[in-house]
Amino acid sequence: MKEIYLDNNATTKVDEAVFEEMRPYFTELYGNPSSMHFFGGQVQKKIDEARSRVAGLLGASPEEIIFTACGTESDNAAIRSALAVFPERRHVITSRVEHPAVLTPCRNLTQNGYRVTEIGVDAEGRLDMEALRAAVDEDTAIVSLMWANNETGVIFPVEEAAAIAKAKGALFHTDAVQAVGKIPINMAESSIDMLSLSGHKLHAPKGIGVLYLRKGTPYRPFMVGGHQEKSRRAGTENTAAIIALGKACELAGKNMDIENGQVKVFRDRLEKTLMEIVPKARINGGAAERLPNTTSIAFEFVEGEAILLLLSEFGICASSGSACTSGSLEPSHVLRAMGVPFTCAHGSIRFSLSRYTTEEHVDTVIMELPPIISRLRQMSPFGREFL
């Protein structure tokens, strides 16, 4: 069965051109970029090129780019660094809807005597800016807020938030894993200190991430050892993946118009048509500013895992905010923070598109999903009046 892949916020297909770019660096050009000989040196040149390409996508300087192993590492490194450079500051601010890569390290800090404030969101998933303003103080070491939410696609006003943080001398970090490559980012005109991105969300392979570190921002490395990445991240470079990420970032810049054009058109058509056909459905965060590729739709009276497995019968790949898919018993923390009723949260499905999504893919979902919802509602003791 050919997959209809609409789960691009989970991971993406590696672009063929990206794969071609990285291919020689396994069996042919396998040198260590730190070596003195020509064989390693030529790899170093490609890494420099990759760094420039990543910087190009972000509007940054190459020396502000630190390669890491993943988005989670970048997030952890940013938070730990801020605490190390400001040992006297004992307060950390994040939001209730962060990815676990930020939320878990922050929550763990409470065990070490830190004060951790989690800023809430409104029913549309928008950050409570008043609460943020009230929370930041002279004790705050770092404010870490995601650029765009992985489940709903809701975009946070990170520039405004960064200004609030910096007014009190705190560092500002953003987990931009879902934003990079989907919406334009220009660090040259930003006051954000640190930014995390992940390769596999933008058609590069898994196992490569970046921490952007603004020039002049104090930093204490998470991984120490060798002198790689100017001693800011020790460990032999993942050369093939770094080179792949460079290519992926170059392509992302070129394809930005597609993301905000064709991809958005398909996303809008998908959710608009489903809203028209399926009764008792709603878009989570639909009134907020969102990524062009993401839609999270709540179908009342049915459960997400059942929807996903029936979609899977047609080759359609999506994901769910339901409890049953994860093995936990509560629906997603993001939907709960938004106050989405339990009745809807259990039946929430996320479709996340990419530049590989075709009109045919969208049409297949529009054709197959409504009967699935009806079928499950027919089986359900609830919502029988909406069959």
């Binding site: 459960e303 895992e305 059942a306 339901s322 049953c324 027919q378 089986m379 003791p381």
Partner: protein, 290 residues
């Protein structure tokens, strides 16, 4: 992705007996939208009200909840009510060729709905749910107090599931009943219930021998420490080590969370009680640093 058996997939994709029975003799409803799963079970008896001739279900829930409901209705047909009541949640899981442990609560939901339906048919009492949590799981036979407030689950129900499924950890209890799976506030209470059920099980299974040789006594002390006491401590992140046995004096050292714990004195008393219960009345437990 869950590793569902072919039978689970079949009963999910082609569920048997979906729907309602307008003139059903017995109807049992458990769960709610808020819980994430719910089952309404309809049972029709023959003219003599003797055997089940038809069973149908309506389920809101994941694939394994739907498959468990479908399996249950198939299993019920042709059975008397007493035979039906003998169906355990393990039987439902077995019929499906097994369920992932995290999904065992789906089979428990089937059995619960069955018990509620039959209790209602027979006019037996069904306990009031916690008033704040009207989506709670009902348990028909006994009174009980709500332990898990998030899912409205009572101690009576939990103890039964712990006992029949031979559960030994709070995590397993969550997988089978959902209790403790949301805020986690009741996990300590669940651990107490496990200890209580295990204690009861041991009491019925074992009797203290009349007189013990020293070697036999030492063996039994080691046995009780290994099988009964250490697992209880593990549940709280603690542990102990047997240092020495001298006649009836048992020296232990506490490890991990128990070491340096202010309550370790109480733990030593608990260990002594258990050993007196299962081995000999004259045992004295001493805590030593070792």
């Amino acid at each position: 992705m869950w590793d569902y058996t072919a039978t689970v997939k079949d009963h999910f994709l082609n569920p048997r007996n979906v729907g309602d029975i307008p003139d059903a003799d017995a109807v049992g409803e458990v769960g709610s939208l808020a819980c994430g799963d719910a089952l309404k079970l309809y049972i029709k008896l023959d003219e003599n009200k003797d055997r089940i001739v038809d069973a149908k279900f309506q389920t809101f829930g994941c694939a394994s909840a739907i498959a468990s409901s479908s399996a249950l209705t198939e299993m019920l047909k042709g059975k008397t009510l007493d035979e039906a009541l003998a169906i355990s949640n393990q039987d439902i899981a077995e019929f499906l060729g097994g369920l992932p442990e995290e999904k065992m609560h789906c089979s428990v939901m089937g059995q619960e709905a069955l018990e509620v339906a039959i209790a209602k048919y027979r006019g037996e009492p069904i306990p009031e749910h916690d008033s704040e949590h009207d989506h709670g799981h009902a348990y028909p036979d006994h009174e009980g107090t709500v332990v898990c407030k998030c899912f409205g689950i009572t101690d009576t129900f939990l103890k039964k599931v712990i006992e029949t499924n031979k559960l030994t950890t709070a995590e397993q209890v969550t997988h089978f009943t959902k209790a403790g799976g949301a805020c986690g506030g009741c996990v300590p209470k669940i651990k107490e219930l496990i200890a209580e059920v295990l204690g009861q099980a041991l009491e019925t299974a074992r009797k203290k021998p009349e007189k013990l040789s020293n070697i036999k006594k030492m063996q039994m002390i080691q046995d009780v420490l290994e099988k009964d006491i250490r697992p209880l401590l593990w549940a709280d992140g603690g542990d102990l080590e047997l240092i020495d046995i001298d006649g009836s004096t048992v020296q232990v050292a506490f490890r991990k969370a128990c070491a340096g714990c202010a309550a370790s004195g109480n733990t030593a008393i608990m260990v002594q009680q258990k050993l007196r219960e299962f081995v000999a009345d004259d045992i004295v437990v001493e805590e030593v640093q070792g």
